[in-house]
Symmetry: C2
Subunit: 123 residues, 2 copies
């Protein structure tokens, strides 16, 4: 089954805000060149989640993993995002659309953040 | 020189939002039990950055590393946070207060997020 990843972030007014999200997409593409990866944003930036999902499905994906590039799960992920995911599932009934936990909830990500936090201290 | 870390996150209305930030603090305390770690928030949650910095300085820290637990550097980190850091430096002239880059800008963190994003796909 053809797979795809959509990295879904909050977005911000500052265009530089998107850079880390684009860097994660580039890292995935480097390690898995055949795996389509799109970035998508809830606010301020485009494309939105609907457009990004439609794009990978149009390109043939039948299993889409939506990965929230959020530090934690608050109102956006509990309320807004499930509505968008349900709408995408209704538009693409032949496609399996998974919503992952927020990246910040992953233990490996948390460990990397803890290591980074300690990295700059002397001694 | 006595050191301390302040993990500084955006904050949200949902109390569960703080959990990943608290988990990172717990991971740091586990790996470096003598290193004081505080969490602080820009909005919605407490303590604020000023209170958290004052707390570690009162406890004897003379080098404080403020680590923004933000995915990327947008308006908050470019405009709001430097003002808070400058005010903290003015309050504590004998203390070295460092402002780290946002955790999402760190390569190790980005690699962990990329690995997590790919982890849930079949095959």
């Amino acid at each position: 089954m053809k797979q795809a990843i959509v990295l879904f972030a909050h977005g911000a007014r500052d265009p530089e805000w998107a850079r880390p999200v684009q860097r994660i997409a580039a890292m995935i593409s480097e390690s898995a060149p055949a795996l389509p990866v799109e970035t998508a944003f809830l606010e301020f930036m485009s494309p939105g989640l609907d457009e990004a999902i439609d794009r990978v499905v149009s390109a043939g994906a039948r299993q889409v993993r939506v990965v929230p590039v959020f530090l934690a799960e608050g109102g956006h992920l509990k309320r807004d995002v499930p509505i968008l995911i349900d709408a995408a599932r209704a538009r693409h009934p032949a496609c399996e659309i998974q919503l992952a936990r927020a990246v910040g909830e992953d233990e490996g990500v948390a460990r990397a953040m803890a290591a980074y936090a300690q990295s700059g201290l002397d001694g």
